[in-house]
Symmetry: C2
């Protein structure tokens, strides 16, 4: 049995441990064995110490059940502070950084009994410059960024759940490329103390995992939100199938994956229609880029001013782009964004969820870049939650995801609907 | 002349230095002299090193003019990270904390030429448990919290401008109690990387200073926002005088200060009327407390879980209050808040600014508490910017402020209006 514990979801692990059917050490040992076998090919970890993980596990085994995550191995993206492990933010500038506290999400996870298995690879400051992680389905392909280590580690069964974050496409895209479930929360849903920021208008925590119920479990640990009641089989969600203005940028396999998903949901009884997005939504990719650059130029001013030679060309370009944006243009972009958020809320009043592409196609070959964030920028700007579900494969056999988008601040309802949908598509 | 350089505003200092009429070292030396004379009575600083301040000054004197803050001595609240000074967040838990980076606001200020004079006293995690600072007008009275060192230091002419932050009343109240100008920004206006968070729904940066033009100068350094054009003498603002539902909690001197200000503005040609706030606004103090407690219980989870014995009883009570709030109640409170923000925007469409109390009265005697945040909680919840202007005195001769409230995201216009108003009330 030990050899399969690393394959289980977080809720399954917590259930086994709480009922005494498995020890935390046994669970963690299974994950470590998987990491040791696969890490040379995958490179999910920025920092990993098997002994330290086992120490945490034994301490849990020697005490009472701490909470809903008791015994759950957790991958923590290396832009998230940990008091007992380095946190390098994907940058040589922070190579020696040792935070004095855990980030709030880590502290709450640990309080609920999670084991921090290690720190997972991130791109530089969660922007574009890639880390070392390889796609577990084919090491010649990118994982997508920025939450690359958490996505690859989850997809490769190294751990059941990992923390990611999203400012453009940093959860959605690696989830789609690696074949993981990727949950990007409503902006502002989670406290971000101890999480390295990129653009405060958009930064949000996200989770990579394999089961939607594990998203709810983590929300329970962090927010006290109870898991949503499941949607009845005979009360299917109203689904708006949104090809988006960038449909023609997606490849044929992505088109097929989305159309097939929409068809299956309709066959299962869901009301599936194709609402038209307001025309001005086509401009939101450019608006997202502008706001993100302006914000990032402030958030990472310390590094840009004091360590310019240790930034990648990509990051330097973002900083310079952001510094060139006038405050007047920034404010206008924010006002346009607020107006579009109101328009989306109106549009979504007729739907439970929207169905949209997660990415233009399979994970691209090569490791110089992390793929195109095109299909996430608009939703991230709009502050809505989304779940990427790995439900198809492309021509190279790599995963393709579909994105289920919920209403702002309706994360619980989205998760119930995404579960209903995933059960019919997987 | 040297003896008076510490009395000048930030814009005056920057002008003198840029034109070669004063050296940065001379300015900083004047501030140091004031600190050395007064610090034993006032206690504005958590960390102060005259040599280190002079080193920064000499480095600036030896180079070109860096930016709009060139030579401006700056007090930095000790919840804001500095790479060359400790940042203790007002807590023994962080007594040895040495950040590896400057907070974004510090990095940008330094890039624009500011000298960080030292770290100013804060309450514990910017909540209620007081630091050592005494009111410069009477050391037996509180300064108010939490930005107590920055407010007292500015009021006592130790430095022209200081960083504060506000989650409930942490800029407005100490500004009013100490007799400083206090600017609390629209929520989200400034990046908060490297600023210790208390409640993400409300946390915002603020400035303590003596001249409104210095607020605009700092906004230029941090955001690239150009100072607003001054309001013409013959185009006075439309002022809504709002006594608020808590008017009877304010003392007679505060009533007189507000009524006198409203009268003077009307005499100067402003249209002053008394709009009625929607009835549900009376519940916003309780709503603010609930959301702040829930958020704080997440933001400072690390300290609560790992260092419970090093938290004050006040902070422990906040954590426990926040942990007892259900997610359902939290979400309902956030939805009520969003509805009230829309109602305020409607109401303010007929006004340029609102005029309201800053605090219930003068700074209370004693140092066991920092006074009542009552008159700020609602505006902080509503995310609007405000400027406190020290324009009156109470029965004990201590300052009384009036609060000028602007429209959300209309900080520039608020500053122009506040300037027009201050010119007529000071």
């Amino acid at each position: 049995m030990t050899s399969e514990l690393n394959e289980l979801g977080a809720r399954e692990v917590a259930g086994l441990v709480a009922s005494g059917k498995a020890g935390v050490e046994e669970v963690v040992a299974a994950c470590i064995a998987r990491v040791e076998a696969r890490e040379p090919d995958v490179g999910a970890f920025e920092w990993f110490d098997a002994d330290h993980a086992l120490e945490q596990a034994r301490a849990l085994d020697n005490g009472p059940v701490k909470g809903v995550l008791h015994g759950v191995p957790l991958g923590v993206k290396d832009i998230i502070d940990t008091r007992d492990m380095p946190t390098r933010n994907g940058s040589p500038i922070h190579a020696d950084r040792r935070p004095s506290s855990d980030a709030s999400c880590v502290a709450l996870s640990r309080e609920a009994g999670a084991v921090v298995l290690g720190k997972t690879v991130t791109t530089e400051f969660a922007y574009f410059f890639p880390g070392k992680t390889r796609n577990p389905h084919n090491p010649d392909h990118t994982t997508g960024g920025s939450s690359m280590g958490s996505a690859a580690g989850v997809a490769d069964r190294m751990f059941p759940i990992g923390f990611g974050s999203q400012t453009a496409a940093s959860v959605t895209r690696p989830a789609a490329y690696c074949g993981a479930v990727g949950y990007k929360a409503t902006t502002g849903a989670f406290d971000l103390q101890g999480v390295c920021g990129l653009a405060a208008s958009y930064d949000t925590l996200g989770f990579l995992c394999r089961e939607i119920e594990d998203v709810s479990l983590m929300r329970e640990a962090l927010l006290g939100d109870r898991p949503p009641p499941p949607r009845d089989d005979d009360a299917p969600p109203r689904v708006g199938f949104v090809r988006t203005p960038w449909w023609n940028e997606a490849d044929a396999a992505t088109h097929r994956a989305l159309e097939s998903a929409a068809g299956k949901l309709a066959d299962a009884g869901a009301e599936v229609t194709e609402p038209e997005l307001p025309a001005e939504f086509g401009g939101l990719v450019a608006t997202h880029k502008l706001v993100m650059a302006f914000d990032a130029a402030r958030a990472r001013a310390y590094e840009y001013v004091n360590h310019p030679d240790e930034l990648s060309p990509q990051f330097t370009a973002l900083m310079e782009e952001g510094r060139a944006v006038s405050y007047v243009d920034y404010r206008a972009a924010q006002e346009r964004s607020a107006a579009c958020r109101r328009r989306l809320a109106d549009l979504m009043s007729g739907f439970d969820v929207l169905l949209a592409p997660s990415a233009p196609g399979e994970a691209p070959e090569g490791h110089a870049a992390t793929g195109d964030p095109l299909f996430s920028r608009m939703w991230t700007l709009l502050h809505v939650p989304s779940v990427t579900l790995p439900v198809a494969a492309g021509d190279s056999g790599l995963p393709i995801g579909v994105q289920v988008v919920g209403k702002a601040r309706g994360d619980g309802a989205l998760l119930a609907d995404a579960r209903w949908i995933y059960d019919r598509l997987r």
